[in-house]
């Protein structure tokens, strides 16, 4: 691992934390607040490639577990890894890995990156998050899935935003994935 890899991993961990400090994105029609934090996960995957993106997310989760309030809304500590939404968090490194893998193979177009963001940032994250809710609350998985559906519109908007942003940034600043 080069010095540049080390710095980029730490930078994207910090960036994802900083995005959590921004005010939540208002999405019309739904009452669920949409934080910009998972935008960091998607951008890391699109811009850093699989390995560095996954490590950046793992680093961020470690800092949260150590007791830093880096999740959106100033939450942190060991408690967030026990609560009902823990599955969504734990999936971040894998989600970033998936986005990075697709982004590396695919052409760097908005559409392809959108597909990558949906696969990694939504499918993978929900694939851990929904069973997480089901286990913690001891409910059928369909009920858990129903509860998570409220977040889907916001996450789709973020996947779109992340792809548009990633394409512009890569044009200005190409980094080998």
């Amino acid at each position: 691992m080069t010095a540049r890899d080390t710095v980029l991993i730490a930078t994207f961990a910090a960036l994802t934390a900083a995005l959590g400090l921004l005010p939540p994105l208002p999405v019309p029609l739904i009452a669920v607040p949409v934080t910009l934090q998972t935008l960091g996960l998607m951008l890391a995957g699109c811009l850093l490639g699989p390995r560095r993106a996954a490590l950046a997310m793992l680093l961020l989760l470690s800092l949260i577990a150590l007791g830093l309030p880096l999740l959106a809304g100033g939450r942190g500590g060991l408690g967030v890894f026990i609560g009902p939404s823990a599955g969504f968090l734990i999936a971040w490194p894998l989600g970033a890995l998936m986005i990075g893998l697709i982004a590396r193979k695919a052409q760097q177009t908005t559409l392809m990156l959108f597909i990558a963001n949906v696969c990694g940032g939504i499918v993978v994250v929900y694939a851990f998050g929904i069973p997480g809710i089901a286990v913690v609350s001891d409910l059928p998985i369909t009920t858990a899935a129903f509860a998570s559906a409220a977040f889907l519109p916001g996450d789709l908007v973020k996947a779109g935003l992340a792809s548009v942003i990633a394409v512009s940034v890569r044009r200005a600043y190409p980094v080998a994935l």
């Binding site: 691992m1 080390t6 710095v7 409910l139 942003i165 512009s168 600043y173």
Partner: protein, 209 residues
């Protein structure tokens, strides 16, 4: 610098070794999954609450702040459980969740960031035969903690610049310049690290017996 969640204090819980606290937390987690008795759970809730608010001197206010983000989940779980099962199961699950989150928060609030970090590095040390270098993890953690306020400054700068142009509400117009600046900053920082022999230090530590 960003502040951790640690609340300074001199209570017995503050002075307890981190490793012991984490082991008790794990044991509590396993124990609670096995229990089916609501009465026992109410007792554990009371003990944990008292430990949290009074023994650790964290106060009832902080206990409430810890619980508040979970309230919507409690309502959801209670309603759904009463529909698919019964009120007893609903109570069992809500109480169990509350205790676990309180206990985990109790560990976080009473343990210094440096002690937690030492514990993490020790655990990673056990993994070093698998190729996880503890010194590099420690370096990256320190670097990230330093970078968060720096990045918040970049975000603030760009937002100010966009406000001057009247496009402050466009996320794309804000995040793209933030990212290009962040990459430039990262390049400058990695050159600075290389100039100071970071990669050689890293290699030497990796090959150290």
């Amino acid at each position: 610098m960003i502040a951790g969640l640690y609340v300074p204090g001199e209570s017995p819980l503050h002075r307890l070794d981190v490793g012991v606290k984490l082991l008790v937390l794990m044991a509590l987690g396993i124990g609670l999954i096995l229990t089916k008795s609501v009465l026992l759970l109410i007792l554990v809730v009371a003990v944990t609450g008292l430990l949290f608010a009074f023994a650790a001197e964290l106060g009832l206010m902080r206990l409430w702040q810890t619980t508040r983000p979970l309230l919507i989940w409690f309502v959801f779980i209670a309603v759904a459980q009463i529909l698919v099962a019964n009120a007893e199961t609903a109570g069992l699950i809500v109480l169990r969740l509350a205790v676990l989150v309180w206990a985990a928060a109790l560990v976080t609030y009473t343990t210094r960031l440096s002690d937690m970090m030492e514990c993490l590095i020790r655990i990673i040390g056990w993994l070093s035969p698998l190729g996880v270098p503890p010194h590099r993890v420690a370096f990256m953690i320190a670097l990230t903690i330093r970078l968060i306020p720096a990045l918040s400054d970049v975000v603030q700068d760009v937002r100010d610049a966009q406000r001057a142009r009247g496009i402050e509400n466009s996320i794309i117009a804000s995040v793209v310049p933030v990212l290009t600046r962040v990459f430039q900053q990262a390049d400058a920082m990695s050159e600075a690290l290389e100039a100071r022999g970071y990669e050689r230090w890293d290699d030497q530590r990796n090959n150290a017996p």
